[in-house]
Symmetry: C2
Subunit: 342 residues, 2 copies
């Protein structure tokens, strides 16, 4: 069985990695087609000896596809994903459009692959900070039963796509040349700076990003009573997100068991030898498949708590890798098709 | 009354700001002398029309001084501060050497100026992250009674002195020129990177910096039962520290009262209008006297909790400014002398 696959938003940072991952991980593709806005149509992209011509994304294109990986923003997903499903094309959507929809599974393949079985054509890929945080938290939950966590993020500019990366670069090059470069993608300079502002602000003072982390964590883990408070911060780092986590558990914790739990879990590695200055850093985890957990310690402000620092590539586990892993799960579980009657 | 004042560690980042602040704030100085290691002796420093020649710091120099502001590391403080006191010179020490000594007051002037009264010659200036975090927390404690907090820091390279700032600059200039510049001050590159490692690691997995934040917070606030867990992270920012805080209180909280509490407290300002993209950022608070508090919101994972983001200049409130403010407190309370019998 092999599939005709489309990438929607192919020219973006995530889109480019989706193409590389489909090739690199050997996903069974009969054909790959790249789609973007009318503005990018006609552009050529090369990968693995192939040259692809970017086509304009529109409803008709899904007629010839089995699977579409969407990464073009929530608006495009809302418009085109239902069109794809109507034409028999399964959608793995990287946007926030459908994540909290009760009919749509929201999946981190190492955590809840079984949620794929009941899909109705659309499967959602979680928010980047959520996926990376859960890669550290979930193995600990399996041993100790997670009840609450606090998290502060250190989010790379890749989370704002190619534009975010270009803006950090432009500002630093301007600084090195004794000039200045005004913010465009962000409301403030990002070079030599950071700000507690990712996505829009909501009425309760949290941002939408912080709400995503809370709501999506509860949905993916299935822990409905999980209490969560996060602060999401953009930092001048290129493409890996870091998260400082304080987690409370129902059962007594010990660090040796926690370390073993991280080591035994797929997709995450223990990077934790402080005496040798070993702990995960974003430079080290940029471009890496596994997330890294370090600074694992008994939390000094919870009776049953663990504190740790987790880092993962935002474009990989935070987006493109997780999306391709979802496609792999759909294939392996023989559910890579739009169910009858949808 | 005016004082003969010495700055120990005058050539460092904090030393330079100490000199500027003594001038700028009009502290009653009869004389200012600058001291550093033998290596820097003879160097000239200018400020406010004066030219100072740096002298070597050694025990004898304290004979002619009323007040010494130390910022040359804990080793120098341990060696020379007792020599100063023995010679009748009061010490305000910016290092960690004496902070947890029961005989030594540890002071943030807006919080516990009265602690100065019982000094025995040495008064300690707190850790930078601690002082800045407490500028946000203490006004809230006065209204709601603080019982526990979690904090994740975003610490500027100025916390490692001139060397830290030079290292970030050198690495970014090398990058802009298509070259690379190896880490020297830090164990990892700091350009485009960050790491959960400030000061040395201790046996419980926390760093010494994280222990300082816990122990010093309890000592300064006088809340002995205060539960604290922090993660201290170095980020590629020049000179202001940021802290994401989740705080739990004994009494019910409301955001309006919390905002009023911050606004009424000296040395801190509310910078909190998300709709206008207003929240404190390190670029904005670099070189500023007050600390800024924003993102103030009811915490979603505490029954009585508040979350906020506080930013302050590390060299000012985190070091030099607080030290000069301590000197001002000693002067105002008429205790700027080594008590009899010490």
């Amino acid at each position: 069985m092999s599939y005709r696959v489309g990438i929607i938003g192919a020219t973006g940072a995530v889109g480019q990695d989706l193409l590389a991952l489909l090739h690199g991980r050997g996903f069974p593709c009969a054909d790959i087609r790249l789609f973007a806005s009318a503005r990018s149509a006609g552009k050529e992209m090369r990968h693995g000896g192939h040259t692809y011509t970017v086509e304009e994304a529109k409803p008709e294109v899904f007629e010839g596809l089995d699977l579409a990986l969407f990464s073009a923003g929530a608006g495009i997903s809302r418009d085109l994903a239902p069109e794809a499903v109507r034409r028999g094309c399964v959608v793995v959507d990287n946007s926030s459009a459908f994540r909290m929809d009760r009919e749509v599974p929201l999946i981190v393949p190492e955590i809840n692959p079984q949620a794929a079985d009941g899909h109705k054509g659309i499967i959602a890929n979680p928010n980047c900070s959520t996926a990376i945080t859960l890669m550290g938290l979930y193995p600990l939950h399996l041993r100790f039963k997670l009840t609450r966590f606090f998290a502060a993020t250190y989010q790379a500019v890749s989370g704002s796509g190619v534009e975010g990366m270009q803006e950090l670069e432009a500002q630093l090059r301007a600084w090195a040349g004794g000039e200045s470069s005004a913010p465009n993608t962000y409301p403030h300079p990002i070079a030599f700076n950071l700000f507690p502002h990712v996505d829009v602000f909501l009425d309760d003072g949290y941002t939408k990003e912080e709400h995503k982390m809370a709501n999506e964590s509860r949905k993916i883990t299935g822990i409905e009573e999980l209490e969560i408070s996060t602060t999401c911060v953009r930092v001048p780092v290129m493409r890996a997100h870091s998260v400082a986590v304080n987690a409370e558990f129902d059962e007594p914790v010990d660090v040796a068991t926690a370390r073993a739990a991280i080591e035994a879990f797929p997709g995450v590695e223990l990077c934790d030898d402080p005496a040798a200055n070993r702990y995960p850093t974003p430079l080290q985890y940029a471009g890496k498949v596994p997330c890294g957990v370090g600074r694992l310690r008994r939390d000094s402000a919870f009776a049953n708590g663990l504190a740790f620092f987790v880092v993962g590539d935002q474009i990989l586990k935070g987006a493109a890798l997780n999306a391709v892993q979802i496609a792999e799960v759909l294939h392996e579980r023989s559910v890579l098709r739009v169910p009858d009657g949808v």
